[in-house]
């Protein structure tokens, strides 16, 4: 008994000695920080039914941004350095849960600003919470036009939420209406005469296809549409219909998201339908994630895809460093919403520093409106806001341009080598961003 008591005391002493130095280590080697930690809330879907892969990338980007800012002496306001913490709240992709989490972040964690949001439904549902509590917010991924348009007009008959006259919501992802036209403009520029649209039967797929069809038909292009359900595994019957037509179409445009687009593209390539010298293959933007793409679509060489976000050839130093860190963590290229989430944290911090306050919402909102900062996706600024240009009285400028970053880059890219990294893929459209001097790489050739 005496022996075991001595043993216990020894273990306790060793444990204390091992733990004691932890308390002595300074939080940072070279900066003196104030006791107060500035907190930002990051909304991202971290569990089902949300898009978890997107949420994980966004969460990583928030944390990476905070780490980079803290390594550079944190948030510097009036000569005082503040540590920055980004607290991720799991929206689960649900408006109801998103609202609850937004309230928790604002009221319990007492965050000074909000960033992130992946799903438009969550963005639309949480905006009211941020407005009610006067929290400056920069959304990094929701595309629904109303996310930014809500600042100047109401929707769905809801009462005005902006009693204080301040709209706290900004967006640096593109609005849906900004994304749609690039692929059709490219196909028209290539002179295609007939296009088959394979479209997922959802509220993303159908309006996007309707928009593309209208643009193509206005340019005299014949369009036929085939609808598919998300989650379908076997597309051979659908593809056989295309194969059986007398003349192969000039292009097949896949308006289908996620893994389903991979299956469809692979089966289409396997059957020799597209890409071929006669038929252009245009697949979903997720093809940019080249590791996943080549693992599932090994026959998908020469397929084109649209890319939302900055293109690799335009990566600046910030983007290159961010991408390297992301690749080290996940083994793939950083997605656009990861970059946007990283940038949103920096933009908020930049605005707080210029506003000289982390708590004066009106001053921070004014500072965000006056943003002019180069980050991983390029130069951020806002054309329309309470302290910027007024929105034109006529309808010449769509409402979503309010508090909307006007320059998100949307391009068409194309693989031209088997297993190629998307960093090396050709940017074929718009011409101003072309990397290989061509608007299309014909299958079997090199640019």
């Amino acid at each position: 008994m005496k022996h075991s008591k001595a043993l216990f005391v020894s273990i306790a002493l060793v444990a204390l000695l091992a733990l004691a130095p932890m308390g002595l280590v300074s939080a940072d080697g070279h900066c003196e920080f104030d006791d107060y930690t500035i907190k930002l809330g990051g909304l991202a879907p971290m569990s089902a039914p949300g898009a978890v892969a997107g949420g994980v990338a966004m969460d990583w980007a928030f944390k990476q941004a905070a780490a980079d800012i803290n390594a550079d002496c944190g948030v510097q306001i009036d000569g005082v350095n503040y540590m920055l913490e980004v607290i991720t709240g799991d929206s689960e992709g649900s408006p109801e849960r998103g609202q609850a989490v937004a309230e928790r972040l604002i009221l319990e964690d007492e965050v000074d600003g909000m960033v992130g949001v992946y799903h438009s439904a969550v963005g639309l549902a949480t905006m009211g919470i941020m407005e009610e509590n006067g929290i400056p917010t920069i959304f990094s991924e929701p595309w629904n036009d109303n996310v930014s348009a809500n600042g100047i007009r109401e929707f769905d008959g809801a009462p005005p939420r902006f009693d204080d006259g301040i709209d706290h919501i900004f967006r640096i992802s593109p609005a849906s209406s900004m994304v749609g036209s690039v692929v059709t403009d490219w196909l028209i520029a290539l002179g295609v005469e007939d296009v088959v649209l394979i479209v997922e039967n959802t509220d993303y797929g159908q309006p996007a296809a309707a928009d593309e069809q209208a643009r193509l038909e206005a340019a005299g292009v014949a369009v036929s549409q085939i609808d598919v359900e998300l989650g379908t595994e076997d597309f051979v019957p659908i593809l056989s219909r295309i194969q059986a037509s007398a003349e192969p179409p000039d292009a097949i445009r896949i308006v289908v998201t996620g893994e389903t687009s991979f299956n469809l593209t692979q089966q289409m390539a396997e059957l020799g339908i597209a890409p071929t010298p006669d038929t252009i293959c245009v697949t979903n933007q997720i093809a940019f994630q080249h590791v996943q793409y080549w693992a599932t679509v090994p026959d998908g060489n020469y397929c084109a895809f649209n890319r939302v976000g900055i293109i690799p050839s335009l990566f600046n130093d910030t983007a290159i460093e961010l991408n390297a860190a992301y690749e080290m963590e996940f083994g793939d290229i950083v997605p656009s919403f990861g970059m946007a989430s990283y940038d949103a944290v920096f933009m908020m911090v930049d605005a707080m520093e210029r506003a000289g306050s982390y708590s004066d919402a009106a001053a921070i909102v004014e500072a965000i409106e006056a943003s002019d900062i180069l980050l991983s996706q390029g130069r951020y600024y806002f054309t329309y806001g309470a302290h910027n240009e007024s929105m034109p009285a006529d309808d010449s400028m769509p409402d979503f341009m309010w508090h909307q970053w006007p320059d998100p880059i949307v391009t068409v890219m194309q693989y031209f080598e088997q297993g190629q990294s998307s960093l090396d893929a050709a940017v074929v459209y718009p011409e101003v961003y072309q990397t290989h001097g061509t608007a299309y790489v014909v299958p079997g050739t090199s640019p």
């Binding site: 280590v25 109801e96 928790r104 549902a125 809801a158 959802t202 509220d203």
Partner: protein
């Protein structure tokens, strides 16, 4: 153990278990009534409670349908969705000869509730002549069908961006608004529970239990089985339709999305009811409320290091964000509940307070005594 037996004896001799149970229930109700006035609680806490009340209605109504009437439906979330979507669409677009402006928020909610009941009636008339497995299969299919229609008819429903319902309340002050929302949802829970208890304890409830135990025997004894099955199906459909229409009228959430109607969400409702106790309305309601609270509270688990210790980066606490793991843990609790406490985790408390365990003990003791008596008599006869 002996101490507990002494406590039991003292309670039985004094206030009595049932009265103690009522006193405890009254205390909980008083606490819940006082809660929004607790200035130390933020609006977030009230939001969590509002959500808890909503899911308590969902779980307890499912317990009435499945636990008491024995009708295993997976369409509960779909009927909730019908109530919410119809209320939202009617308030926005009007209905037949009624313009949207002429329909108040309350009117829209009433229409949503009635439509949920009517759809329940049609499905009930089509299906409830069939045995349990077919109802389960059909309601899964119906739920998915409804979800996909809401997703693909985006021009009307907003698709995955969701449908924003007309707010039921127009209160400018956020604090006051949240208080009123809290009391409204709490009152709805109480009213729904009372209505369900009234049904469960009426002659209809007796028929429902008889049907659950043996449908053929109940039918042979003159119970119109199909009629009562349809009745309870329509009744619970209307309850969840009403709850959905109110909750999504900016009381708990300002918009409903099709993903809310997924089978995964329905499985959560079943899990709440199973954990609380499928055959007890109050048990299922409490199970749902507590489960929702715990799922919210475990979003972030913070364990502060003892003795003021800190780590190298200055942190004085271990923070664990379980994310989806808390649902996995929740599922594990449900598996354990089904294996070891089939009547739910709250069942022992409910039986103790209701004094039902005394009746059970008395019945068992009487049966044993009768058997002993019969055995002795048999031995004497020999």
């Amino acid at each position: 153990m002996a101490l507990f037996q002494r406590f039991e004896a003292a309670i039985d001799a004094g206030i009595g278990r049932r009265r103690l149970g009522y006193a405890l229930l009254a205390l909980i109700i008083v606490y819940l009534l006082w809660f929004p006035n607790d200035t130390s609680q933020s609006n977030y806490a009230k939001t969590v409670f509002i959500s808890g009340f909503f899911y308590a209605i969902m779980a307890s109504s499912w317990a009435l349908l499945a636990g008491i009437a024995g009708q295993f439906s997976f369409g509960h979330m779909a009927f909730m969705g019908i109530g919410a979507y119809v209320a939202g669409l009617v308030a926005r677009d009007g209905l037949a000869f009624l313009t949207a402006e002429s329909i108040s928020s309350v009117g829209a909610i009433v229409i949503g509730t009635v439509v949920a009941g009517l759809v329940g009636l049609v499905i009930g008339m089509l299906l409830l002549r069939l045995r349990a497995a077919y109802l389960a299969l059909f309601t899964i299919a119906f739920s998915e069908l409804f979800r996909i229609v809401m997703l693909t008819e985006y021009d009307y429903t907003g698709g995955s961006n969701g449908l924003s319902l007309r707010p039921l309340l127009q209160i400018a002050d956020v604090e006051t608004a949240r208080q009123v929302e809290y009391y409204l949802m709490f009152a709805l829970l109480i009213v729904c529970l009372l209505a369900m208890y009234w049904v469960a304890n009426s002659q209809v409830g007796l028929f429902l239990r008889a049907m659950r135990e043996d449908e053929d025997a109940a039918s042979a004894l003159g119970v119109n089985v199909v009629r009562y099955k349809i009745l309870v199906f329509v009744f619970t459909s209307m309850i969840v339709g009403l709850a959905g229409a109110i909750f999504y009228s900016d009381i708990g959430s300002e918009r409903i999305i099709p993903e809310q109607l997924e089978v995964l969400q329905m499985s959560l409702i079943i899990a709440y009811a199973v954990i609380g106790g499928m055959e007890s309305l109050i048990g299922a309601a409490a199970g749902a409320f507590i489960s929702r609270y715990l799922l919210e509270a475990t979003r972030e688990v913070v364990i502060t290091y003892p003795f003021g210790l800190t780590t190298a980066d200055g942190s004085n606490a271990f923070v664990w964000e379980p994310g989806a793991w808390r649902y996995a843990l929740f599922g594990f609790v449900m598996v354990l509940t089904l294996r070891f406490m089939r009547n739910g985790l709250l069942y022992p408390f409910i039986t103790w307070f209701s004094g039902r365990d005394l009746v059970m003990k008395e019945t068992v003791a009487k049966r044993e005594s009768d058997e002993d008596h019969a055995a002795r008599q048999g031995a004497d006869d020999e």
